[in-house]
Amino acid sequence: MITLTILYIFLIIAVVFNGLGVIGLHRFPDVYTRLHAATKCTTFGTIFMTFAVIVYSGYRYYWNPTQDQYLNMALHTIAALVAILVTNPTGAHAIARAAHRIGIKPKFAVVDDLEDKEAK
């Protein structure tokens, strides 16, 4: 029962943050701020989704150790979590760097140190 409640809480957090990512994608003005919404909020939501999978499969394995496919699922989800944590920032950084290289200026920016450096 408690496990089920924890699962629902994790899944609700995941859906809320993924939804916020979508809203932010439509609200924000330029590529950089959209990247914030589209990659960060969704990363957070996806992390909680993987937590939910880990909790569920760990719970199933704990009560029935003969079903070791659940342990395997939990371990694979941990591997997927590591992959998300490594690749998501790398992808966001690659998009932002490419955008700045081809000359897209951040809109409404109050300060742009990188452009000052390139101007020198």
């Binding site: 916020l20 932010g24 924000f28 003969t66 920032p89």
Partner: protein, 173 residues
């Protein structure tokens, strides 16, 4: 000798990843346990030998083997806790900005004063993983980072990287 050390480290790492992924999958040596079968172990070792031969000069590019120390790996795992707390705080902040639309973006320069490539990579990844801050460019000579910040405030170096740098120094430097 140097090549052999690189090969052994890569081999052990690949073998660890293989055994981790196949733990509790399929048949096992002892009936009912979660360990691997003999065939699986042989296959894993041969795959890890191939990976070690092919990838050792890519994985161990520098001659510094400080990351073989298991204490550093444990600190790296502990570091996930403060990182996660920062992520929760920053996520709530960005969620607020998504709803209200109050943003004040800008690209700021921070100087975290880290020496090693691994440290800078870890810091850049942590910063990008934290919502509200996004690494746009890296000055590789001076190890300075250019961060797109969704709400520009005072003292960027301290308020963006201040909580990460002491942790990263502990395991990556």
């Amino acid at each position: 000798m140097k090549k052999f050390k690189a090969f052994i480290s890569t081999f052990l790492f690949a073998l660890f990843v293989y055994l981790f992924m196949t733990l509790a999958a399929g048949q096992s040596m002892i009936e009912g346990s979660i360990l691997w079968s003999i065939e699986e172990l042989i296959f894993g070792i041969s795959i890890a030998l191939i990976v070690g031969a092919v990838a050792s000069n890519i994985l161990c590019r520098s001659d510094n083997y400080r990351m073989l120390n298991p204490v550093r790996w444990i600190i790296m795992l502990v570091y996930m806790v403060p990182l996660f707390i920062e992520m929760v705080k920053a996520n709530l902040d960005v969620a607020y900005r998504v709803i209200t639309g109050k943003i004040e973006p800008g690209i700021v320069k921070i100087d975290p004063d880290l020496k090693t490539d691994l440290g800078v990579t870890f810091l850049a990844n942590s910063i990008t993983l934290t919502p509200g801050t996004l690494t746009v460019d890296v000055d590789e000579e001076k190890s300075e980072l250019y961060i797109h910040w969704i709400k520009v405030g005072d003292d960027p170096t301290e308020s963006i990287s201040g909580r990460f740098v002491p942790w990263i120094r502990r395991f990556a430097e």
